[in-house]
Amino acid sequence: IAKESRSHSSQLSCCPQCLQRTSFRRFGNSLSEYFHLLQLSHKILKIIGAKFGTSVLSYFIFLKWLLAFNIFSFVINFSFITVPQFVAAEPNNLSFTGLELFTGAGYFQETVLYYGFYSNATISKTEKGPSYNMQLAYFFTVGIYFVICFLILLFSMAKSFCRNFINPQIVSGIASKLLCVWDFNITNEKAVKLKQKNIIMQIKEDLAEVNQEVLNFSATERVVHIVIHLVCWVASLGTAVAACAGVYFLSINNLKVFVKEHKNDLKSQAAMLVLPIIASLLNAFIPFFYSWLGHLERFQTPGYQIYVTIARNTILKISIVGILCYYWLNIVAASESQCWETLVGQDIYRLVLVDFIFCLLGSFFGEFLRRIIGTTVCVNLGLPEFDIGRNVLDLIYAQTLTWIGILFSPLLPGIQMISFSIIFYVKKVSLMMNCQPPRKVWRTAQMATSFMLLLFFPSFLGVLSLFSHTFRLKPSEECGPFRGLSSMYDAVSEWMKILENYTASKWVVWIYHNLITSEFFFFILSVIVLIITYLYWQITEGRKTVTKFLKKQIINGVKEKRFLLEKLWVLQRRNQNPSAPRGQGQQVSLIVQVLLFQLNAWYDFMGFL
């Protein structure tokens, strides 16, 4: 690399801008060497990518990314909220039976696992020593975690959009990207052969122009198609509504049972598990109904079918989560129970746990048993393929539940961390043992961007709007760090009142009163953001026009170049012809000079472009 002779490749690798960033890179490199866990997952990802390719690999990369969110949340919550609470902990009088691991109630009710255990006092180890305000700590820890998550999600999504240039023109044959189609990750011989067969199939399809058949439907056939589409959408939305209604009535029943009879025996504790099991069963089986509906409707492209199925599954999951949130915030919060936040926390704990168990069972039935059926009983089916869409939606659902539960059960990310790690290994083992590499085309970059969009918009923003509603509810009188206040948000307003008395922090109070609580400021901010968005949109439209124009210019430029070169060649031949008269020779050389000048000008113009 020090040699000058291997110049070009090393010039590209050691570009001047890169050298400026070397100090950052070296620091980042030495940091990353401390994370040995990354190397372990690196090997696993390499094995998976080698046999199954980039599409299946994207699921595991997404899972690793979500795991990082949970680790971050757990570390923050544990250090800022739980550890100070241990200092001021009250003794736990309840006994521990094994059932608490499943129901989350009983012994766990009086531990740091739930909101109800945290005190609202200002904790200080010694008299007049430094004090730690638990109310503000709880509020700001959760708040700042969500702000950081928001920024990380926003930047990742923007980077993904930028890198992948999502083009709405999805339909194009393999010929337009034949040179980009080979997956260099695949290093397993059988997987290579399968990929090559896949490419042959795509090429034959493209040559036969199956996708671009002009489907001349008659009017009746078109009407029949539209009616089938409508019926399928009505059926899917109808099942989603029915599922929501079922979950709602079950949960109301659940609450009645819990509030009326405070028994702690086996039967009532088992009854608490009915709601999560039913919710998970609905989430597990209705998607099969949706994919059957998808087969019924004949879509123009398979890519469109995947998007529609994912949209329906998302609607189902979001509506179930939505109805549960409505139940928690409007019914449980207004009920007569002692500590409604702990109840909600326990519900979420049970949901997360049952969802985790169902994920493992799904892997067992969907992949292991299906392989045994496919190889022994019904050999036509063959080995199962890894269903990337369904698995990623399950992950997004689990992460949504965790985000909702952070306020009510601060250590829930720790539990989700463990469950995601177990899921990672179980899915990897199941994949290697039971599945075959994917046969259909899966547009990895587009799907990865869509999944990140799904994580951000319905999932994260939904949780944020939920919290903004929760902060205005009345917290329980007898438990939790916000007891006695009229809303959780009052902790900050009271703190502002205290700060007003100190001159050193008057600027904080000023910012609070004039920027954060003032609606006028947010109105002005929204107007500015809308103006900037509109301007950027117009700039993008303008750039599209310029791109079209430049493409035409390139084609015209090449034609002009060819024309000029031909003229030049003809004129030079004539110039060399000794029988040409003198005067004409001068004329010809003048024309040659003009043409050369034009050619130079053209080259300059191309260089400018």
Binding site: N29, R163, F184, T187, D206, L207
Partner: protein
């Protein structure tokens, strides 16, 4: 950083870190992979910059490359004289460009060179035919191969000169955003 390694001088390691996308540990790990291909040819001490070149047969037998239909072109593109025999610098360069941290333009440049079989800075029809045959294990008929190549040039050739230049190839990549993740070998 504490572990005393005697393979490279600190300046060499820093130079490698700056010119590739790897960390110190990864560079050392790659060196051991390089050495494992031929322990008798590669000295354990690179501080005096020995001039060691491993023949293509050893490089092409690595598990990451041995089933790749383009392994010969990859080795030829990254080797110094284009014959597939690689020094340690070529080896590191190759895996650095094929790692996930390399930017899109760098990957596009090298992918273009890999598919340019006759090294004339253009992917012409014969290059495309060779590529298609490698992608399909020679299982398509010559007529189908010719049709596919014509279609590829028709769809991708922006400046209408009958062959693909680097700019045409970069334009093709815009329509295949998966390129960044598929043009990647994990080592």
């Amino acid at each position: 950083m504490g572990n005393k390694q005697t393979i490279f001088t600190p300046e060499q390691l820093d130079a490698y870190q700056d010119c590739t996308f790897f960390t110190r540990k990864e560079i050392l790990r790659l060196f051991y992979r390089y050495r494992d291909l031929a322990p008798q040819l590669v000295p354990p001490d690179y501080t005096d910059k020995p001039d060691v070149t491993l023949p293509y047969q050893l490089i092409g037998s690595m598990p990451e490359l041995k089933d790749n239909p383009f392994r010969q072109r990859i080795a030829e593109v990254f080797s110094e004289n284009g014959d597939g025999n690689m020094t340690l610098d070529d080896f590191l360069d190759m895996f650095s460009v094929l790692s996930e941290m390399a930017p899109r333009d760098l990957k596009a440049y090298y992918a273009f060179k890999i598919y340019d079989f006759n090294n004339d800075d253009y992917i012409c029809k014969s290059d495309l035919e060779k590529t298609v045959n490698k992608l399909t294990r020679n299982e398509l008929t010559p007529e189908e191969v010719r049709l596919v190549c014509e279609k590829v040039i028709y769809e991708a050739d922006v400046d209408n000169d009958g062959k693909l230049s680097l700019e045409d190839f970069q334009h093709m990549i815009i329509r295949a955003p998966d390129f960044l993740s598929t043009f990647h070998i994990r080592i």
